[in-house]
């Protein structure tokens, strides 16, 4: 029994990425297909794109991508086809819309904030900060009033 399992494993053992028989003859179309493979997640796997997954699901998905491209679908139409079936989960790059805008825009926003703070800090550093002993003008005025006579 163990031997049979072993032989089966040897026959079906994984090979990463696209198989020769899956590939299209047209190199331009195949290049487009491979670019799309990178963008699509193997939904049955652990955070892997279908380009790198050895799972059957990924193999089927790769074939499907090529069929759709052969039918003349655009890249976006292929992605939409997968999203319609499996939700946005299938996209390795979340689209920059809706709630995902937070993902895309928070870093640029943080960069602006960081630069803003840095500029303010640099300006402040041009002069030595007032010594902690120095009194504010109001306090100094009050002190003068209190110690007038």
């Amino acid at each position: 029994m163990k031997h049979i399992a072993l032989i089966l494993l040897l026959l079906a053992s994984p090979l990463w990425a696209v198989e020769p028989h899956e590939m299209l003859d047209d190199p331009i179309l195949e290049a487009r297909a491979q670019a799309l493979d990178d963008e699509l997640r193997c939904v049955r796997c652990r955070s892997e794109s279908i380009a790198f997954s050895q799972a059957d699901w990924a193999a089927d998905a790769r074939v499907l991508v090529r069929e759709l491209l052969t039918e003349g679908k655009s890249d976006q139409e292929v992605l939409d086809f997968f999203v319609a079936r499996y939700g946005e989960f299938v996209l390795m790059r979340p689209p920059a819309k809706g709630g995902n805008l937070v993902l895309w825009l928070s870093a640029p926003a943080l960069l602006l904030v960081g630069l803003g703070i840095s500029v303010a800090y640099l300006r402040q550093r041009r002069q030595p900060p007032p010594a902690p002993e120095a009194l504010s003008p109001e306090d100094a005025k009050r002190l003068r009033e209190l110690t007038k006579d």
Binding site: K2, A5, L6, L9, L10, L11, S13, P14, L15, W16, A17, V18, E19, P20, H21, M23, D38, E39, R41, R46, S47, E48, S49, F52, G87, E88, F89, V90, L91, M92, R93, P94, G99, N100, L103, W104, S106, A107, L110, L111, G114, L115, S118, V119, Y121, L122, R123, R125, R126, Q127, P128, P129, P132
Partner: protein
């Protein structure tokens, strides 16, 4: 008996950590010298006990003691000795023990080599380090005890995950842990400084070597992991933006920021509170990383231990330490004022720009990694964030960093003239642009990636060299060469590390832009051509290894009529673990790797063969090695020791 003693030593170490975590801190607060002095012997005893416990576990693995649950689950009598030993940390419990051992080791090193640190600060550092030890030892003993016995020991074990039976991965965790846990010591220094309520140049000087030490090991660990992924996973990628990889990358990025801001603290006594914050956050990212790796909340190809309960406890540990440290920071940060003055164009300003870029880059990795969790919590919808996002969102920050780096490195402290720096750097810039243009003209494709990579690499490497040369001052070439050899090691370290960054950038750009691949079904005896290489599939045979069966292909590679030799890619199957692995065969070269992978037998008697020509692949890791050498050079700078000793004479009285 040895194993039982190891278990006992582990528990004793935990109790000692409890003492180390309380007594010196109370002593430092009350000013009781006797209590403050407890830290050092406690730290030394703790590391000895944990070393014994670790030795005992190793002994159990080496002697294949299957009455230990951990040995049964991760070892096998047929496994080669090297992997019996590395199997000790090739699993959750054992690696956690290694983590705790490293933690204790750093505490002990702070005790042994911290003689020039004021007693009170040292007591506080050791106390905080002890508290971190308490948390992780409790986690180890109560949720992941490596010394658990089995009532009915089996005759043999389940074998180690075959992917981990590899020299690259065997030494990846220990060096990574030296890095992670090294950052615990900078955390302890930061919290101790907050407790003291003061940060000065001396503090910067004590913290910097530890940060540097941690960073160097983190770099080596990450490079080993990435190198392993390159040759083991079988398609020649080196970085996959996987959550577990990101978990190691975030502390690395933030520690680079910390290294640079600590320089400003040391030289100019500015950026104090920011540096403290970075030191706290760096260890925060380490703990978040531990949570990501060990909880399984984020699916990753590197599944390690997927136990939500353990994850919850790790999250609590993270929350307590981060919450505590940041609260303390909020109360004490206003005491960390600085009187230093500098102009908007100065070394200080350049280092601030470095810190902004690195911090935001760390944030990009962070938000990309946890975004699936956030999105699911808010919308209930599952999302994926993969390499296409990170490549777009992260890369610009590294490019910006590389662009400003050589100019920033030229600027003097306090007040600089940009036109002077530019007058030094414009020839380098011209050279770099020329180099980029040349690459653009020579390359066959139309991608801008390769030329930009070459441009940045040239800019960084030549810029660093010129920076070093410029520091030799004026005079004859001979005099300047003489001065070059007498230059402080830290200056050398800086230039070397920056050049390494350039080399890595070029390696990544070249590999990404110019990899050629060929995938085909080849018959035995068939020859095909990829670029200037002719590859022939000679034969395929079954080979029996110590604990695996291999399908090994023999392929001859000829480059322009000159034979390179025979490459033997394999597919292995590990019967005990029931797992197959791919062993790519790589001919490493200075300008390219020839990378061959054998696949499945096909119906017509042929075999799937993948041929990749990967240009400049080795430069990626060579660059990291050069960066690490730069770090080591800086570590050996005598200024770290001499001036630290000078401080001892004029020991500052800590402010109450």
């Amino acid at each position: 008996m040895i194993v039982e003693l190891g278990h006992f030593a582990l528990i004793l170490a935990f109790l000692l950590a409890c003492i180390q975590g309380v007594v010196p801190l109370v002593g430092a607060h009350k000013g009781w010298r006797g209590w403050m002095a407890v830290g050092e012997p406690a730290a030394t005893a703790q590391v000895l006990l944990l070393a014994y416990a670790f030795g005992a576990l190793t002994y159990a693995f080496v002697t294949s003691d299957f009455s230990l649950r951990l040995v049964t689950l991760n070892s096998h009598t047929d496994k080669p000795m090297l992997y019996k030993i590395t199997g000790v940390w090739g699993n959750h419990e054992g690696s956690m023990l290694l983590w705790c051992l490293t933690l204790a080791l750093f505490g002990a090193m702070a005790a042994w080599f911290g003689g020039n640190i004021p007693d009170r600060l040292r007591a506080r550092v050791l106390g905080v380090q002890g508290l971190v030890g308490v948390a992780f030892l409790a986690f180890l003993i109560f949720t992941s005890n490596p010394f658990q016995r089995l009532v009915n020991p089996p005759f043999n074990g389940d074998d180690l995950n075959p992917l981990l039976q590899d020299p690259g991965l065997a030494f990846h965790p220990p060096s990574l842990y030296l890095g992670y846990v090294g950052l615990s010591l900078t955390f302890s220094f930061a919290v101790a400084a907050l407790l003291e309520g003061r940060v000065d140049a001396a503090w910067g000087r004590w913290v910097r070597p530890w940060t540097l030490f941690a960073w160097v090991w983190l770099s080596i660990g990450i490079a080993l992991g990435s190198w392993w992924a390159y040759y083991e996973l079988g398609w020649g990628g080196f970085w996959f933006w996987d959550p577990v990889e990101n978990a190691s990358f975030m502390p690395w990025l933030i520690s680079v920021a910390l290294l640079h801001s600590a320089i400003v603290v040391e030289k100019r006594e500015a950026l104090k509170s920011w540096t403290i914050l970075l030191a706290i956050l760096a260890f925060g990212f380490v703990m978040i990383g531990a949570f990501i790796v060990r909880s399984g909340v984020l699916t990753s190809v590197h599944a390690f231990a997927n136990d939500p309960e353990r994850g919850k406890l790790l999250l609590w540990i993270t929350a307590v330490f981060m919450g505590g440290a940041l609260t303390l920071f909020a109360f004490r940060a206003d005491r960390l004022t600085s009187n230093s003055v500098f102009q908007p164009v100065s070394r200080e300003a350049a280092l601030i720009a470095n810190n902004v870029l690195l911090s935001v880059a760390t944030f990009v990795v962070f938000i990309g990694t946890i975004w699936p969790l956030i999105a699911e919590a808010f919308s209930g919808e599952k999302l994926s964030v993969g390499p296409p996002f990170f490549n777009i969102a992260f890369t610009p920050f590294m490019v910006a960093l590389a662009v400003i780096l050589p100019i920033g490195a030229f600027l003097p402290w306090k007040r600089a003239k940009l036109d002077r720096a530019l007058s030094f750097t414009w020839p380098v810039l011209a050279l770099a642009i020329a180099c980029g243009a040349l690459v653009w003209a020579v390359q066959t494709g139309t991608t801008a990636l390769g030329p930009i990579g070459a441009l940045l690499a040239m800019w960084l490497v030549v810029g660093s060299a010129l920076d070093l040369w410029q520091r030799t001052g004026r005079g004859s070439v001979q005099n300047r060469l003489g001065r070059l050899t007498r230059m402080p090691r830290a200056d050398w370290g800086k230039a070397v590390a920056h050049a390494g960054f350039g080399i890595t950038i070029f390696g990544i750009a070249a590999l990404t832009a110019w990899t050629t691949e060929d995938i085909r079904v080849a018959q035995i005896g068939e020859t095909w051509r990829v670029n200037q290489y002719e590859v022939t599939l000679d034969n395929v045979e079954r080979v029996r290894g110590p604990n695996y069966i291999s399908t090994m292909a023999h392929l001859t590679v000829v480059e322009n009529g000159r034979s390179i030799g025979t490459l033997t890619p394999e597919k292995r199957i590990y019967p005990v673990a029931g797992m197959p692995t791919t062993e790519a065969a790589i001919d490493n070269g200075f300008t390219r790797d020839v990378y061959l992978v054998i696949g499945d037998p096909q119906g017509n008697g042929g075999w799937t063969v993948r041929t990749f020509i990967k240009p400049y692949a080795n430069w990626i890791w060579a660059g990291v090695i050069v960066m690490s050498i730069g770090g080591f050079l800086s570590l050996t700078d005598r200024r770290f020791r001499v001036a630290a000793g000078a401080r001892k004479a004029a020991r500052p009285v800590p402010a109450e």
